[in-house]
């Protein structure tokens, strides 16, 4: 069994985001790029499955859509433990283009399980995984909080609105993972970093797929009203204010 993990790179989650060009473009100056947190977790889970011989997972590959400048992100995934990588050489403008590009990677290889994160922490789209599945006409399962492989079959726990379901789908399929899939992201050890240098990155050209949407402007969130402090000895006053002033209870 082969697993493909799709990874995007995003600004470090503590970045103070700023915009330039009259608030039409993200100011990338000084941004630290990291692997999207969910993609890091899905990579971790894929590697855990590979470590367990009973799953039959033999290879874990990663795929990234982006220009050559994003290769450090790919090397990081290789250092964490992926066996090889694919990069589709395009600066994508929307999720549709990303998914179209990832579909080329899937077609170029032999993958049984294709994993994507539930969203990227920059544009918060939650789009790529399901779009990819539709491009490939494959089944997709979203909001996966647990993934096992038993007897050559993926056994999935997914969150539904109001509970959980255990489901199976035939391979290949696209799994869109969320919290719970792995506990802590794996980090690269020195040996992994050394080995990553010689692992192959296959570069593919982007398919002809135009973007369907584009960001035209950004605005900072509305500043909130200053906090009103209530004396801890008089906590009942808070309840009174929530009831009569904010009118929320």
């Amino acid at each position: 069994m082969n697993v493909l993990v799709c990874i995007s790179n995003v600004p470090d989650t503590t970045t103070k985001v700023k915009f330039t060009d009259n608030n039409t473009r993200l100011d990338t100056a000084g941004i630290q790029w990291v692997i999207n947190p969910w993609d890091e977790l899905s990579l971790t889970r894929a590697l855990e499955l590979k470590d367990d011989a009973s799953t039959g997972v033999k290879q874990v590959s990663v795929a990234h859509v982006g220009p050559v400048s994003s290769e450090p992100t790919i090397r990081k995934a290789l250092a964490i433990g992926a066996d090889n990588a694919f990069r589709v050489n395009v600066e994508p403008a929307d999720a549709y283009q990303v998914a179209a590009a990832l579909a080329e990677v899937v077609k170029a290889g032999q993958f049984d399980i294709i994993l994507c994160g539930i969203e990227s922490s920059d544009y918060n789209g939650s789009n790529v995984g399901s779009m990819l599945a539709e491009f490939l006409d494959l089944p997709s399962v979203s909001a996966i909080s647990n993934l096992k492989v038993e007897g050559g079959q993926a056994v999935i726990t997914r969150e539904i609105d109001g509970g959980k379901e255990v489901v199976v789908v035939p391979s290949p399929f696209v799994g869109i993972v969320q919290k719970g899939i792995a506990k802590e992201p794996r980090i690269a050890a020195m040996r992994g970093i050394m080995m990553a240098r010689s692992k192959p990155i296959t570069v593919l050209e982007a398919p002809a797929a135009e973007a369907l949407s584009s960001f035209v402007a950004y605005e900072p969130p509305q500043p909130r009203a200053a906090c009103k402090f209530i004396d801890p000895e008089n906590a009942a006053q808070l309840i009174e204010m929530l009831q009569n002033e904010a009118k929320v209870i």
């Binding site: 399901s130 599945a133 209870i249």
Partner: protein, 323 residues
């Protein structure tokens, strides 16, 4: 021409979220000068379907099939695509929840329709069609141009007020022929969170952080939640420690919620936590450290020991509830 909403049901019933979508769809239809159609999949009684009319739905296209009792993103997508084509949909609206997030992107590819996901208000303009959505986990809003003939929107829960606009809807049955080969997702087991108020549905949420010190200290939070008809939540370290279940974890890597009132108790207010709760209408912070960043996000704050403050709040709520 029409605007279409996907009216999801839970065990045959709609909920506030469904009516928010209908209210939103009705407004978008009005902006475009067209009518509003709802698609319902699964077993829903006619009397329930008719409730959509109260919020401006003029026509309900309903379909039920044994194989569609559980979400199969591919099969649901092709079904909604067929209805959209039949009804000449210009805009398709779904909830930004698990179901919406797994259907809308597939539909976007199938119909080659631009998708705006996690939209938080009405389109800013319809010519060109521009929507607003949260980006960078709540640190900014973006204006997104949807540049295709047909557009798809997923709407954030609790971001649009219900608006009544009663009409008598036409109910139309849409029959589908399906065989097992088209529905790939086989459900082996279902666990429902019975009787609990869902975190994403709740108007009031009481959330505890590492400052609560241990799982044993949760009793007053549970009591407060019970009294206020609220859901309970927690910060990430709390669910990592196993003090509370994973479903309660809010924040960038957990649930994103937008209740009317969010209590952050013993939570420092890290950006990753705020990413999940910053759309709350009111945030109340209770923290022993007066310089905790949570107070910058909160409108009401108490600087104090949660263990001492919580019992007082419980008493005060009991007091108003008995009045």
């Amino acid at each position: 021409m029409s605007v279409i909403i996907y009216a999801e049901n839970w065990d045959g019933k709609f909920k506030k979220l469904t009516f928010e979508l209908a209210s939103y769809g009705a407004k978008v239809a009005e902006m475009l000068g067209t009518s509003l159609v709802a698609v319902s999949i699964g077993k829903v009684e006619e009397s329930e379907l008719k409730k959509l009319g109260k919020y401006g739905v003029q026509k309900v296209v309903t379909t039920d099939h044994e194989l569609l009792r559980h979400l199969d993103s591919k099969a649901y997508t092709s079904l909604i695509a067929r209805v959209a084509q039949k009804e000449g949909a210009k805009v398709i609206v779904m909830a930004s929840n698990n179901a919406g997030k797994s259907i809308a992107p597939r539909l976007s590819v199938k119909l080659k329709a631009a998708l705006g996901s996690g939209v938080n208000k009405l389109p800013l303009t319809t010519e060109p069609f521009v929507v607003s959505k949260k980006v960078f986990s709540g640190n900014a809003f973006a204006h997104l141009l949807l540049n295709t003939e047909v557009k798809i929107i997923t709407l954030m829960q609790n971001s649009f007020d219900l608006a009544e606009n009663a009409v008598e809807p036409v109910i139309e049955n849409f029959s589908v022929e399906l065989d097992g080969a088209e529905v790939k997702t086989v459900v082996k087991d279902v666990q429902k969170h019975e009787g609990k108020i869902l975190l994403t549905d709740a108007e009031i949420v009481i959330s505890g952080g590492r400052g609560m010190k241990s799982a044993d200290n949760w009793q007053p939070i549970l009591e407060l939640a019970e009294l206020l008809n609220a859901a309970t939540a927690c910060s990430r370290p709390v669910s990592d420690e196993g003090w509370r279940p994973h479903e309660e974890h809010t924040g960038q890597t957990g649930k994103i919620i937008a209740p009317n009132l969010y209590f952050a108790i013993g939570i420092s207010g890290a950006t990753q936590h705020l990413a999940g709760v910053s759309s709350s209408k009111y945030i109340v912070a209770i923290n022993s450290d007066k310089s905790a960043p949570i107070f910058e996000a909160a409108q009401y704050g108490i600087v104090g020991d949660a263990m001492k403050v919580l019992p007082k709040l419980v008493e005060a709520v009991k007091e108003i509830k008995t009045k």
